[in-house]
């Protein structure tokens, strides 16, 4: 009995001892990437380096899945226990900044080179209407058009350069009776639709007197874009099921040979070729079709920022850690691990993300530097979260609504979602 008491008190002492000597910790939340082992290794090295130059501080990195991330952050903020630093998807930064959750990072941004040092689309996405910067661009990604070289060779076609080419090639390569189609017209993939709307001169939202409004109905662009995809779907250039396809479904169909073309991003290539190694040599790449051949294509650019939360107890240390992660070699190493490009514009052209070839990475890099992001409206995260754009596309493709009706409906939804008072 006495021995038991001794053992128990030893255990208690150890536990209490741990508490008393708790170190100040910098908590970092990062979105969980596919290659978790490499990610872990990267952060182990970075944390160790930081702890060496800042003795007495412990860096604790937690990986959270993308799907649960938004909820988890909102909950943490509501409970007043946010991390010191986190990664934020580029469309979320404005949202969190607008509600006052993020720390103003103007000073850090200036130290790291200012707007011109980073990929323009990402830098814009982190700058609120008040002119302050709330996130440091960490990595960026964009999508390009992949095509099956053998299919195009057999049909004696060149890969498409404009949207008109794409439509023509898609129709020429579709043979529903055989079960082969020209294009993966993914209905549940808003990033496929964004550049088409921009190509037709349309846009999604713009600020007026400080309040963001939907621009879908302001010009003919969105209607023409919807008509374009509707015509393609009606002419069976994609399987009927494509209306609910996400990026993953499109890639899967492409790799299997069901469709001859698809649109996907640099981060997806590694896993696609892991599942279908025999297809690698047959895959060609071109920039997303655009008529602006000389000014460079206008593709959709997404990515992530690193942000500091206002409630952080150690904001200066947090900024120092972000500065460490923004070093050229650190940014490049992380980006290539997750299949993306560094946020620093100067590094983009010389980076080859894991899983891509030199040619492929050149196509992505060119698009990145001339690409555009979604409107940096605080409410845009909600528009994405509610899948308003895919719902609009699907209602037209499934015949539930005409193009104009779908646009009117989506416009009203977006106005409500972007209105800060609602």
């Amino acid at each position: 009995m006495k021995r038991l008491a001794l053992l128990l008190s030893a255990v208690m002492w150890t536990l209490c001892g741990c508490d008393r000597h708790e170190q100040p910790t910098l908590s970092v939340w990062i979105m969980r990437p596919g290659n978790i082992a490499a990610a872990q290794a990267f952060f182990d090295a970075e944390s160790a380096g930081f702890e060496r130059t800042h003795p007495g501080i412990r860096v604790r990195v937690e990986f959270i899945p993308w799907l649960a991330a938004h909820d988890k952050l909102v909950t943490a903020l509501a409970g007043d226990v946010p991390p010191d630093i986190s990664e934020l998807g580029s469309t979320w930064t404005a949202e969190f900044a607008a509600v006052g959750a993020l720390r103003d990072l103007d000073r850090l941004d200036h130290r790291l080179g200012g707007r011109s040092a980073f990929v323009p689309a990402l830098a814009d996405a982190a700058t609120l209407a008040d002119g302050h910067v709330y996130g440091i661009p960490w990595y960026a990604g964009t999508r390009a058009l992949l095509y099956r070289k053998s299919v195009f060779a057999r049909a004696r076609l060149e890969p498409p350069r404009t949207l008109a080419d794409l439509a023509r090639d898609a129709r020429a390569l579709s043979d529903p009776a055989q079960g082969t189609y020209g294009f993966a017209l993914m209905g549940n993939n808003a990033p496929l639709f964004y550049p088409i709307v921009w190509e037709y001169g349309g846009d999604f939202a713009a600020p007026r007197d400080g309040v963001w409004h939907s621009q879908l109905a302001a010009s003919d662009g969105a209607r023409k874009a919807l008509a374009y995809v509707h015509d393609l779907y009606r002419d069976h250039t994609a399987p009927q099921g494509a209306i609910t396809w996400s990026d993953l479904d499109g890639r899967s169909a492409f790799a299997q040979g069901t469709v001859a073309m698809t649109v996907t991003g640099s981060w997806a290539l590694a896993s696609m070729f892991a599942e279908h190694p025999d297809v690698r040599a047959d895959v060609g790449i071109v920039p997303f079709p655009s008529s602006r051949a000389n000014a460079g294509p206008v593709a959709f650019v997404g990515g992530s920022h690193l942000v500091v939360y206002k409630r952080s107890h150690r904001p200066d240390l947090a900024e120092a850690f972000i500065a460490a992660l923004s070093r050229a070699q650190a940014q490049r190493r992380w980006a290539t691990t997750v299949g993306f490009y560094p946020g620093r514009a100067a590094l983009v052209r010389s980076t080859i993300p894991d899983g891509t070839t030199v040619l492929e990475s050149r196509v992505f890099a060119d698009e990145l530097l001339s690409g555009k992001s979604t409107p940096p409206a605080p409410g845009w995260g909600e528009v994405e979260g509610s899948a308003t754009i895919p719902a609009m596309i699907q209602s037209v493709l499934s015949g539930q609504a005409t193009e104009s009706a779908a646009i009117a409906h989506a416009s009203a939804e977006i106005d409500a979602q972007l209105d800060p008072d609602l």
């Binding site: 909102v74 079960g179 099921g241 494509a242 609910t244 719902a391 209602s395 499934s398």
Partner: protein
């Protein structure tokens, strides 16, 4: 009734009362209060909430989408109930009398009940997949080539049917087991008399077994209706509300408003509306359940 008995009884009931008040009544009250406010992301992070009275309810009542969702939910739940009851009853009747291997089959038939809703939805989503799913492959192998690469989620009605299959698959074992227990309670004397009259198996089922279980069927219908109006997981996994918001049910609508859009006041109002709708069925259930035991 004596005072000491009452005190003892209340002492024994105290834990359940605690649970009901803390975990049910209080959150329900808070939700109702929340539904009277504008409560969005900014409010979650500390900005004061604006009292708007019944405005959230007014917005819902005048929204054609909300009524569409209510009707869709009721129609979907009704379909699930009919399907589940049909399958459950047929299987229960098949397992009514003994045959070699019956106990093994009883176990297999009970398995769907054991799978969590999320896991079941994911497996069925894979089974229904238009590119890699065995269902489409099987149907076109049978000669129904219209099903080669057929998408079960591209059309709202078809998608509802597919999700109903998932719900029915998960719930029919409950119906089967309940009915089998019900069969065991039926008096032998009626069957013996019928056997003497030389009645056929089929007539026996239709004229005696099923009618005598009338009250049990009624209870099952109400119970299934409650569960099926509340369906969320299967719809979320299988369609996410698509295509084009066509397969929204009340549970999914409340979730989207609350978590995707962080409009917690509106979500609370939808939840309140849903509770009011369910209260009708719950009241009926309590009536039926107490009627048979009180």
């Amino acid at each position: 009734m004596n005072g000491r008995e009452t005190r003892t009884a209340l002492a024994f009931l105290a834990p359940s009362l605690c649970v009901i008040v803390v975990l049910l009544a209080y959150p329900l009250a808070r939700t109702l209060v929340l539904s009277l406010y504008r409560y969005n992301l900014a409010q979650v992070l500390g900005k004061p909430a604006r009292f708007v009275g019944l405005e959230n309810y007014r917005d819902l009542a005048t929204s054609p989408f909300f009524w569409h969702v209510v009707l869709a939910t009721l129609a979907f739940a009704g379909t699930c109930v009919v399907g589940t009851l049909a399958v459950g009853t047929i299987v229960a009747l098949a397992l009514e009398d003994a045959f070699p291997g019956r106990s093994a089959l009883r176990v297999v038939v009970a398995l769907p009940w054991a799978m969590p809703a999320v896991a079941a939805s994911i497996v069925w989503k894979w089974l229904f997949d238009d590119q890699h799913g065995p269902l489409d492959a099987f149907l076109s192998a049978l000669g129904l080539h219209a099903f080669a690469g057929f998408s079960w989620t591209a059309n709202a009605l078809v998608a509802f049917a597919a999700v109903a299959v998932i719900v029915a698959w998960q719930t029919f074992p409950f119906v089967t087991i309940t009915l089998l227990a019900g069969f065991a309670t039926l008096p032998r004397s009626v069957y013996e008399a019928a056997a003497v009259d030389g009645i056929s198996d089929w007539r026996r089922t239709c004229a005696i077994t099923l009618p005598m279980l009338g009250p049990l069927f009624l209870t099952l219908i109400v119970l299934l209706m409650i569960w099926d109006v509340k369906v969320f997981t299967q719809m979320y996994v299988m369609t996410g509300g698509g295509p084009g918001r066509g397969t929204y049910v009340l549970g999914l609508y409340a979730w989207r408003e609350g978590f995707a859009s962080v409009h917690l006041g509106v979500a609370a109002a939808i939840a309140a509306a849903m509770s009011a709708l369910l209260a009708i069925f719950v009241g009926a259930y309590v009536r039926l359940a107490r009627g048979s035991t009180a």
